[in-house]
């Protein structure tokens, strides 16, 4: 692979991720609208929002840490996108592997924590505290799942994992082979996306949307972009681990949208759990299922 193609992929992959992410956000809002018996936003709404936020005249920064935090949040995901293979583009996926990805995916949360901490708004601080707690909660099943998958396929290279799955057809998919881990993965996905019932760190009714409380203008825009990436990342990761990745763009996108639709739908059907309820739940069922799945896999 020439360096030019790699560079092009490194630019293209986040760009694709962003565009797909915009539509994932649109889907999120349309699903909500449908369940709430209404029409919902127009097609380009997510883009309008982001352009508007970047076009705000007032851009309030709370210091350089705040700026860096947002850069980390978005940058972390941009980096993550290059580690996620998509049809026709592998980027640096085969060099990074699953473990790197898991670590890279923590960067945004930490960046956010840094940035929000600078705002000195107690709501933000509480939100971050909760977000980190939530991370702790969903990371346990997540790590189990990642570990199980890596064990099963015998590799942490996502490109290889996808290749193995695609070789076996539907029967070769991770979900077929490791249904329990796939279920545990869904829980982790829900937690990772921070959707109800694991929405505690946003919680508008308590802490006025938590980490976002002091964000405005392009900083909020950054968070909106991050959300696009987040949905995309989570979706693609799940597809890569359990649904055989993308044979072609059509199937790939279809799988991603279906996968993301599941937590989105659930989000509109449930209230949020309190922190300790969330941890209790996360460390109970998903972990048990995950461990059970792991046990099956290891035997």
């Amino acid at each position: 692979m020439s360096i030019q193609i790699l560079l092009m992929e490194l630019v293209l992959m986040p760009l694709v991720a962003f565009v797909v992410g915009l539509f994932l956000v649109l889907m999120l809002r349309r699903i909500g609208a449908k369940l709430q018996r209404r029409v919902g936003p127009p097609m380009m709404q997510p883009l309008y929002d982001i352009v508007k936020l970047y076009g705000k005249k007032t851009q309030i920064s709370h210091g350089w840490m705040h700026d860096i935090g947002i850069i980390m949040a978005v940058g972390g995901y941009v980096a993550a996108e290059t580690l996620l293979p998509v049809p026709g583009m592998d980027g640096i996926a085969d060099k990074g592997g699953l473990v790197t990805l898991v670590y890279v995916m923590m960067i945004p949360s930490l960046g956010l924590a840094l940035g929000v901490g600078q705002c000195a708004n107690p709501n933000g601080s509480i939100g971050i505290a909760r977000a980190l707690t939530a991370m702790l909660a969903y990371d346990v099943p997540f790590v189990i799942v990642v570990f199980g998958v890596a064990w099963y396929f015998g590799t942490t290279n996502l490109v290889d994992i996808i290749a193995i799955q695609q070789a076996g057809g539907v029967a070769g998919w991770g979900a077929t082979a490791m249904p329990l881990l796939a279920i545990a993965g869904l829980f982790a996905l829900q937690g990772m996306l921070g959707k109800q019932p694991f929405e505690i760190y946003i919680a508008p009714a308590e802490i006025a949307t938590g980490p976002m409380v002091e964000m405005s203008g392009k900083y909020l825009g950054g968070l909106f972009v991050m959300q696009c990436f987040q949905l995309y990342t989570a979706g693609v990761l799940y597809v890569s681990l359990f649904l055989g990745g993308g044979e072609n763009w059509l199937f790939f996108l279809l799988k991603v949208f279906v996968v993301v639709a599941i937590p989105m739908t659930v989000a509109f059907l449930f209230p949020r759990y309190k922190t300790e309820q969330m941890i209790r739940l996360m460390w109970k069922w998903p972990v048990m299922i995950g461990l059970l799945g792991l046990a099956f896999v290891m035997h």
Binding site: V39, M44, Y48, V51, G55, T58, I60, V213, S216, L220
Partner: protein
């Protein structure tokens, strides 16, 4: 309104108008379009008109069709909806909120009360004319207006934002002294907010002859560093605790 017309405001060329680069103009056009299609509304229930906002936001009238979403903090909001009367106590918070919102920002006055006191024209507790304290971009008539009327108002505001006519926020910078004077008249001479409006005005190149004046001088004289607010706490009706609060 009378006072307003007495003040002669020189029209300053705004930053956007002075751009000549056609690409920049296209970009401005795009931003204005997106602003009009994505309005985050601060849902601050100042008065009874707020009761018609849930219907307007929810399934029956679904504001999201127009790209309008409620936002919970002023930092993220573009639109400040004043839903009816503002008591003097609330008005202070409203001004505080308004100054924390990011420009460009728009104020919508709903119901009769925001125009001339409405139902509470006799009341010692409510402010009567909102436009004396904040620049208002749009009024929606009714007591309270139905959700449809609110939506119509929003659509009108969208048109005005898109055409660049809705620029009340610039007015606040240009005639800050007048607004501040009215605020001081109601709240007392020691009224102050954390925002440095004069500094912002010059930063945005919007400072005009009405930005500074006797009232801003008074503000500068009375200004004190902000301190955490003291709250007198009481638990279970007997125990008393003193504490600090973040505002």
């Amino acid at each position: 309104m009378k006072n307003m017309k007495e003040i002669d405001i020189p029209i300053e060329a705004s930053v956007e108008q002075s751009r000549t680069n056609p690409l920049a103009r296209v970009f401005d056009e795009l931003v204005r379009f997106c602003r009009s299609r994505s309005m985050f509304m601060l849902h601050y229930c100042t008065g009874c008109g707020a009761i018609e906002l849930p219907p307007a936001m929810t399934s029956r009238f679904d504001m999201e069709r127009l790209g309008i979403q409620p936002m919970v903090t002023p930092r993220q909001a573009d639109i400040l909806l004043i839903t009816g009367y503002v008591s003097i106590k609330t008005l202070k918070r409203v001004i505080l909120t308004y100054e924390q919102m990011g420009s460009p920002k728009y104020v919508i006055g709903i119901c009769s009360c925001t125009v001339n006191g409405g139902m509470y024209w006799q009341s010692y507790a409510t402010a009567k004319q909102l436009d004396q304290y904040l620049p208002v971009d749009l009024y929606i008539a009714g007591c309270m207006p139905r959700p449809e009327a609110v939506l119509e108002g929003m659509r009108k505001l969208m048109d005005r934002i898109r055409s660049g006519e809705a620029d009340g926020w610039k007015d606040y910078y240009r005639r800050y002294d007048w607004y501040l004077g009215n605020q001081q008249h109601l709240f007392g001479d020691d009224w102050q907010t954390p925002a440095d409006v004069i500094g912002e005005a010059s930063h945005y190149d919007l400072a005009g002859s009405g930005t500074e004046g006797e009232h801003t001088h008074l503000l500068q004289q009375c200004q004190k560093p902000l301190e955490p607010q003291q709250t007198f706490f009481q638990i279970g009706g007997s125990l008393e605790v003193k504490g600090e609060s973040h505002e």
